[in-house]
C-alpha cells in the first residue's frame, strides 16, 4: 500500500509534539512490509530517516522556513505576514500553506498513491486538492485544532475555515484523543462517527538514556539542601495555562518554601510570565530555562520531583509520558488527551488554582506520594507502544482503500 503523508515538521526540526508524533507513527507503520510511505515536508533538511522516503516540497532550508512561523503560530500569522514578509523578505505562514499546496500537487502529478494521510490544518488544503484532482481517499489527522492553539478562543478565522471545510470533506478524521474528538465535533459539527480516536503513545525503547551528570547544576545543588522541584516543559503560550501554574506556585511556596519551579520553553508569553513571577514575589523560586533540546531537555524532566502540564486545552500532550520515562511522575490538566490514557498521575482542572497548589504541595511534602506515583506510572508507561496506534491506522487505511477500489 502506497501512503502519501503530508506533514509540516519532523524531528529534530520540530517545534513541538506534532513532529514527534508524525515521526513515531510513520516509524511504527513502516514496520509493516506492505506499507510504503512517502512523507512530504515544506522545507529541505536531512532528518536521518531511513524507514520512509522524506521529500521536500520546496527548496527553502529550515531557517528560512521558520521565519514564516512554526506549526503552532496559526493564531498569529496575520502579524507574521505583516512584520516578516515585508521586512525579512520571507513568506507569511499563509503563503507557506499556498506554496505547499501547489508544490505537493505538482510533485505527485504523475504518481499513484492508495491513500493520503495529512497532519494538521497546514497540510489539509494540499490533501483536499489531491482528493479533487486524483480522487485519492484522504485521512485527516488532527493533532490540534485552532481553538486549542488559541487557548479556547476562536483563533484565526482563516485556519478555522480550512479546518471546517477540509474536515467536512475528509474521508475519515483521526483525533489524538476523545477530548479532541469532542472539540472537533463541537467546533465544526463533524459527526462523531466520522472521527476515530488514535491516541499518541511512547516507546520506552526510544527514550535516550540519561547520563549521570545533570545539566541543571544549581538545582542539583539545591536539592541536596532539601529542595524539591516542579518542572514544566512546553511552549510558553496561552494554550499551556502557565499563568495559572504561577499563581498556584505562589501558594505552594507559602506552604513548602523549599520548592523550585523549572520552566523550560519559549513562546510569546515568556516575558509576561517572568514579570508575573517577580510581581508575585516568587522570582527566586521560579527558573526560566528557555527552549532546550537534547541533554538539557532530557535533564529537565529527570531533575523534577513532579512534572506539571497545566494546559487549558491539550489535544494529547506527550510530555507527561516522556517525563515518566525519565523518572518523574506527573500532574496533568483534566482538559488533556493524555489524562485519558495515563491512570497513575494527578489530575486537576486547569482553572482550579487551589487544587493545583494542593496537589503540588502534597507531592513536595511527601516522597512516598512521589515514589508511588512514579512506580505505578512507570509500569503503566512501559506497556505503551506506538504499535497500537499504527495498527488502528492500518485498519482505517484498509477500510478506505478497499472502499475506493470497490
Amino acid at each position: 500500500m502506497k501512503v502519501l503523508m503530508l506533514g509540516w515538521e519532523l524531528p529534530p526540526y520540530n517545534s513541538g509534539g506534532l513532529g514527534t508524533a508524525c515521526y513515531h507513527l510513520t516509524k511504527a507503520l513502516s514496520k509493516n512490509q506492505s506499507v510504503d510511505i512517502e512523507f512530504i515536508l515544506p522545507y529541505e533538511a536531512d532528518h536521518k530517516i531511513d524507514f520512509m522516503k522524506v521529500t521536500a516540497a520546496s527548496k527553502q532550508d529550515i531557517d528560512t522556513f521558520l521565519l514564516s512561523g512554526n506549526a503552532y503560530d496559526s493564531t498569529y500569522f496575520y502579524n507574521l505576514a505583516k512584520s516578516q514578509s515585508s521586512n525579512l523578505n520571507g513568506l507569511s505562514l499563509n503563503e507557506q500553506v499556498n506554496l505547499y499546496e501547489e508544490a505537493v500537487a505538482s510533485l505527485v502529478k504523475d504518481s499513484q498513491y492508495d491513500i493520503v494521510h495529512a497532519h494538521d490544518w497546514l497540510t489539509f488544503r494540499a490533501a483536499l486538492r489531491l482528493k479533487a484532482q486524483k480522487k485519492w481517499p484522504i485521512i485527516l489527522h488532527v493533532h490540534s485544532i485552532e481553538s486549542d492553539r488559541a487557548g479556547t478562543k476562536h483563533g484565526n478565522p482563516l485556519a478555522r475555515e480550512v479546518e471546517a471545510i477540509s474536515l467536512m470533506m475528509a474521508d475519515r478524521v483521526i483525533a489524538v484523543s476523545e477530548h479532541t474528538k469532542r472539540k472537533i465535533h463541537e467546533d465544526y459539527n463533524i459527526p462523531l462517527d466520522k472521527i476515530e480516536v488514535v491516541h499518541n503513545s511512547i516507546d520506552i525503547n526510544d527514550i535516550e538514556p540519561l547520563d549521570l551528570d545533570n545539566a541543571y547544576k544549581y538545582i542539583s545543588f539545591m536539592k541536596k539542601f532539601g529542595y524539591r522541584v516542579v518542572v514544566n516543559v512546553g511552549r510558553l503560550t496561552i494554550q499551556k495555562g502557565l499563568p495559572n501554574l504561577l499563581n498556584a506556585a505562589k501558594k505552594v511556596i507559602e506552604k513548602a518554601p523549599k520548592t523550585i519551579f523549572l520552566i523550560v520553553g519559549s513562546g510569546e508569553q515568556y516575558f509576561e510570565l517572568i514579570e508575573q513571577a517577580t510581581s508575585l514575589n516568587i522570582g527566586a523560586n521560579v527558573l526560566f530555562a528557555d527552549f532546550q533540546r537534547g541533554k538539557n531537555w532530557r535533564d529537565a524532566f529527570s531533575i523534577g520531583d513532579l512534572f506539571v502540564m497545566p494546559s487549558v486545552s491539550e489535544p494529547f500532550g506527550i510530555t507527561p509520558l516522556e517525563s515518566v520515562a525519565y523518572g518523574t511522575p506527573a500532574m496533568v490538566s483534566k482538559q488533556s488527551g493524555v489524562s485519558e490514557v495515563l491512570n497513575n498521575c494527578l489530575k486537576v482542572d486547569f482553572w482550579d488554582i487551589d487544587e493545583m497548589a494542593n496537589q503540588i504541595t502534597s507531592v513536595m511534602l511527601s516522597d512516598p506520594l512521589r515514589d508511588s506515583l512514579l512506580i505505578n506510572a512507570s509500569s503503566e508507561v512501559e506497556k505503551f507502544s506506538w504499535d497500537n496506534a499504527s495498527n488502528k491506522l492500518l485498519n482505517i487505511y484498509s477500510k478506505h482503500t478497499s472502499e475506493a477500489m470497490a
Binding site: T361, S372, E380
Partner: protein, 403 residues
C-alpha cells in the same frame, strides 16, 4: 444422624471517610470527616443510602426469619464507627439491629471499635479499642462478646494467643488453603499454643458464592437458589459446620435487591432445615457443640481480602506504609493530651478503609470500576489523609508537644 450447622456471620461497618481536605485546610479546619452532604465523601449521605438499601430491608428479612424459624440463628459484628453513625443519621436502622439482638438468637462478635489494624502497630492501643467496642456493644445490645474477629479478619498465631489470654472462647479467620493444607474449613479447630481458644475458619468458596458470584450471569452455577446451595452443603457428609462469613452489605448493597439476594436469604432457612439434623448455630454455639478436630498453625498474617489474603491491600505501597507508621508514632503524645476530640480524630484515621483507598494494586490496570473507593484515585485518598495527619500534628504542637 450427625448435626450439621450453618454458621452465618455478617460484618457491619462504615468508616468516617475523609473529605476533600487540602494543605490549605491543615492548621485551619479540623473537620476532616465533615464533607458536604452532596459530595462523594459525605458519611451522612452514604450511611443513609446504605441504611435504606441494605440495613433496613435486610434486618426486616432477618427478623421475619427469626420469628418464623425458631432454629434460625446468626452472628454479627458491628464496629463502633458505624454504630455512632447509625445513632446520628439512621436511628431507625439501629433500632432494627437491636430488635434482632433481643431475639436472643443473634450473637455479637467482638473487634476493635475503630476497625483498625492497631494489633500490628500497638498492642496497648489495640486493647483500648477492643475495650471501647466491648463497652459500646454492652451499652447498646446488652451483650459481652465471647468470640473475637480482627479487622479484615487479619489473623495470626500471636493474635490467637492474645485472644486466648484475654478470655475469648473463639476467634474467626479466613479458611485459606496454605494454612489449612489438606484440611477442610468445615470443622472446628484450635489455634496452636492456645489453651481454651477455638478457631472458626471461613469457607470462602461457599461464602463468595453468595457475596461475590451471586448475581454474576457468567457464573456456571447462575442462578444460585437456596435449594441448590443447601444441596451443596449436604454433599459434604462428614462436615460439622459451614462458616459463611461475609460483609453485611452483601445484602442489598453489593448484591442489589433486584438480583434476588433477599429471596435467597428468605428461602435458605426453610431449605436447609428441611433435613433432619440440620441447624443454624451462632459462633459461640458451634464452639460449644463441637470438639476441635486439629490444631492450626498460622505463623504469618492472613486476611480475608484479595487473591493474596495478606495485608498488602492496606500496607503494601509506600504511601500506605509511611502514613500508618507516622500515625502510630504519635500514640503516646496523643494519649497524654487527654483531649478526647484529638484522640478520637486520631483513632478515626486508624480505620483500615483509609489505607485501602490508597491501594494502587488494581488502579494500574485501568480497572477503576473494580476499585471500591469514594476517591477518584489512590493518590487523592493519600493527599487528603496526609493533610489531615498534618493537622493532627499541628494540634499536638499547638498544645506545646515537641515533634
Amino acid at each position: 444422624m450427625n448435626k450439621k450447622a450453618i454458621v452465618l456471620y455478617l460484618h457491619v461497618h462504615q468508616p468516617y471517610r475523609i473529605r476533600h481536605y487540602t494543605v490549605f485546610d491543615s492548621a485551619v479546619y479540623h473537620n476532616y470527616f465533615d464533607a458536604s452532604y452532596e459530595s462523594d465523601t459525605s458519611n451522612e449521605r452514604i450511611l443513609k443510602k446504605v441504611a435504606e438499601k441494605s440495613y433496613l430491608p435486610t434486618n426486616a428479612k432477618l427478623l421475619e426469619l427469626l420469628n418464623n424459624h425458631q432454629e434460625f440463628k446468626l452472628s454479627l459484628s458491628i464496629t463502633g464507627t458505624v454504630l455512632e453513625q447509625l445513632e446520628m443519621w439512621a436511628p431507625e436502622a439501629l433500632e432494627s439491629f437491636k430488635a434482632l439482638a433481643s431475639s436472643g438468637r443473634v450473637e455479637i462478635v467482638g473487634e476493635t471499635y475503630h476497625h483498625s489494624l492497631a494489633f500490628f502497630y500497638s498492642k496497648a492501643e489495640f486493647a483500648r479499642q477492643v475495650d471501647m467496642h466491648k463497652q459500646k456493644i454492652y451499652d447498646i445490645f446488652g451483650q459481652t462478646p465471647a468470640v473475637f474477629r480482627n479487622t479484615e479478619l487479619a489473623y495470626n498465631n500471636e493474635l490467637a494467643k492474645w485472644a486466648d489470654d484475654n478470655g475469648y472462647k473463639g476467634i474467626l479467620a479466613e479458611g485459606w488453603d496454605p494454612i489449612l493444607g489438606w484440611r477442610s474449613p468445615n470443622y472446628v479447630y484450635s489455634p496452636i499454643n492456645t489453651n481454651n481458644l477455638k478457631l472458626l475458619m471461613k469457607n470462602y468458596k461457599l461464602s463468595d458464592d453468595i457475596a461475590f458470584r451471586f448475581a454474576n450471569h457468567d457464573w456456571t452455577e447462575y442462578p444460585l437458589t437456596a435449594d441448590k446451595f443447601s444441596h451443596w452443603l449436604s454433599e459434604d457428609q462428614d462436615a460439622t459446620n459451614f462458616n459463611l462469613f461475609m460483609d453485611y452489605e452483601t445484602f442489598g448493597e453489593h448484591q442489589w435487591s433486584e438480583s434476588g439476594i433477599f429471596d435467597f436469604l428468605d428461602h435458605l432457612p426453610k431449605e436447609w432445615l428441611k433435613t433432619e439434623g440440620h441447624c443454624f448455630n451462632t459462633v459461640s454455639e458451634v464452639i460449644d457443640n463441637f470438639t476441635p478436630v486439629d490444631q492450626i498453625d498460622t505463623p504469618y498474617t492472613v486476611t480475608w481480602a484479595d487473591t493474596e489474603r495478606d495485608l498488602s491491600a492496606w500496607l503494601g505501597n509506600p504511601m500506605q506504609a509511611s502514613t500508618i507508621t507516622d500515625l502510630y508514632s504519635l500514640e503516646s503524645q496523643i494519649i497524654e493530651t487527654n483531649d478526647w476530640s484529638l484522640i478520637e480524630d486520631w483513632r478515626r484515621l486508624q480505620t483500615s478503609d483509609h489505607f485501602y483507598y490508597m491501594c494502587t494494586k488494581w488502579f494500574n490496570d485501568g480497572d477503576i470500576h473494580a476499585y471500591f473507593s469514594p476517591y477518584k484515585s489512590p493518590y487523592e485518598a493519600y493527599m487528603n489523609f496526609a493533610n489531615a495527619f498534618r493537622d493532627i500534628r499541628y494540634r499536638l504542637m499547638e498544645k506545646g508537644v515537641n515533634l
